[in-house]
Amino acid sequence: MADTEGAAAPEHSHEGETRRDFLQLATGAFGAVGVAAVAWPFIQQMNPAADTLALATIEIDISKIEIGQAIKVKWRGKPVFIRHRTKAEIDAAKAVKAGDMIDPQDDSARVKKPEWLVLVGVCTHLGCIPLGTSRGETKGDFSGWFCPCHGSHYDTSGRIRKGPAPRNLEVPEYSFVSDTVVKIG
């Protein structure tokens, strides 16, 4: 369009062109900002809503979990394993050498109190829930957990030792509110 303008009125062409270019750029930029401002709420509405976030923290009473026992609780729609480890399990977890692990990590880095192991119960391979929490379930070759989907074996610290999973079971953000209550999230 600027071309035809220039051809029709050569004496104004230079001035007219820069002004029109400026106006078009300014309009375009203004429009782009507007579109972004409108798009933002529509993208943001897909994120967790306030009530969903309000449920993101839970408190668990762990006083009833005997040594050697584990429970499964739901947190943010996913299972969390809480295991009251035996002395033998703690020792086994501490004794593993880094070279034997796929994702080397010290047991002490994965627990706040050695007898309590808290893990997100989702296999790091493709998201299945590993067996080994409830009584009678197979615990795999390393006495921790075993994922039935593709055969990942986790040890008594929830670390991946064998199978296709790339990383150790995730440790969620948690804290001890008291000796018997754990707050997750």
Partner: protein, 441 residues
Amino acid sequence: MAQFQKPAWLDNSLVRWVDHRLPIFTFMSHELYEYPTPRNLNYWWNFGSLAGIVLVIMIVTGITLAMHYTPHTELAFDSVERIMRDVNYGWLIRYVHMNGGSAFFIVVYIHIFRGMYFGSYKSPREILWILGVVILLLMMATAFMGYVLPWGQMSFWGATVITNLFSAIPLVGDWVVTLLWGGFAVDNPTLNRFFSLHYLMPFVLVGVIVLHIWALHAHGSNNPVGIDTKGEQDVIPFHPYYTVKDMFGLGVFLILFAGFIFFAPNFFGEPDNYIPANSLSTPAHIVPEWYFLPFYAILRAVPANFIGEWTTAWMGFILIEAKLAGVLAMFGSIAVLFVLPWLDRSPVRSSRFRPMYKWFFWIFLIDCLVLGYIGAKPAEGIFIMIGRVATAWYFLHFIAVIPLLAKFEKTKELPKSISEPVLGSGGGGATGASAKPMEKA
């Protein structure tokens, strides 16, 4: 003088490659860059494209709301409240959708009255007009079902009243109503089907709008003078001239629209709809949304013992009862629009050259506003009488005034062409004072 030329980007090799296989760019060029539009369109011609944009806003916000809404009688109200309080920007998206409904009707009503004032429904645009009335009906059905979804008191009782209208149908009325409800009252099955259809209808609307625009582009826009374009001096390309004008109008519209959304979001709403639906307690005063008020007034205007007794005496048995008469009047008030092109046989389109029709147009517009006012008032005292007179005038306007004017009105002389009053040498011989050449073209 305006240039009608294909845009430069049509020569781009990628564009040409695609266009050779799917001529979408040729189509765009033809309908935007080469599409001739009367050069004298005023701002009343903004409202068609504006309505289209509002529909897009409604579809985008509606699809978003559906991601958070639950169509169940026990969950619907709370899910809407959750949208308002918890969902990120849910309040904004819902208020845009809520006020968008009202904005859609404002824009479309202006669009319709513009068509009536300038005679846009006349040959060869009858089908264009009829498709427009179909769009209006679809919009009304969509809006009605959408209003039921929040499951507040007005939602529930509005749905009850409107679906009960169908019980007026002779013989099969009750059967039809049960079929609509999917039960024996407005309940969960009703809510479910309304949600399903409320989601579907906008896309049906889009389809009819495509036909509407197709019909429009067959002969091009009517214009304020109401005479056909007679050559290149009467037209300018749609793009950029009217795209830019439409964008400006859109800007003004959006400022007003944002004003309502942010400063008076419940201006068009009823407070009662923030009370959860209660099937055991009817609100004291049921009113439909404002855009249905004129039709609601017509529904209530038919006297309870007028046509009923009259037909009883005549036919010996009740063929029409008052309820049915009211329903027929209400649907008739829209049905009459379908035949408007054939009721108005005046060859002159624009009111500018119809000194009498122009007055009756304004009287009709006021009549519609009066009906809207009456629709919001309780049916008692003076309001009943005003409602009846206004309803009678509504129909008289179409079945008596318009045909008679077409026959007896003395219309003013039409200009020779659109450009002639401006340029002075439009099509053929110039006449009178209007032949003066103007400085600005």
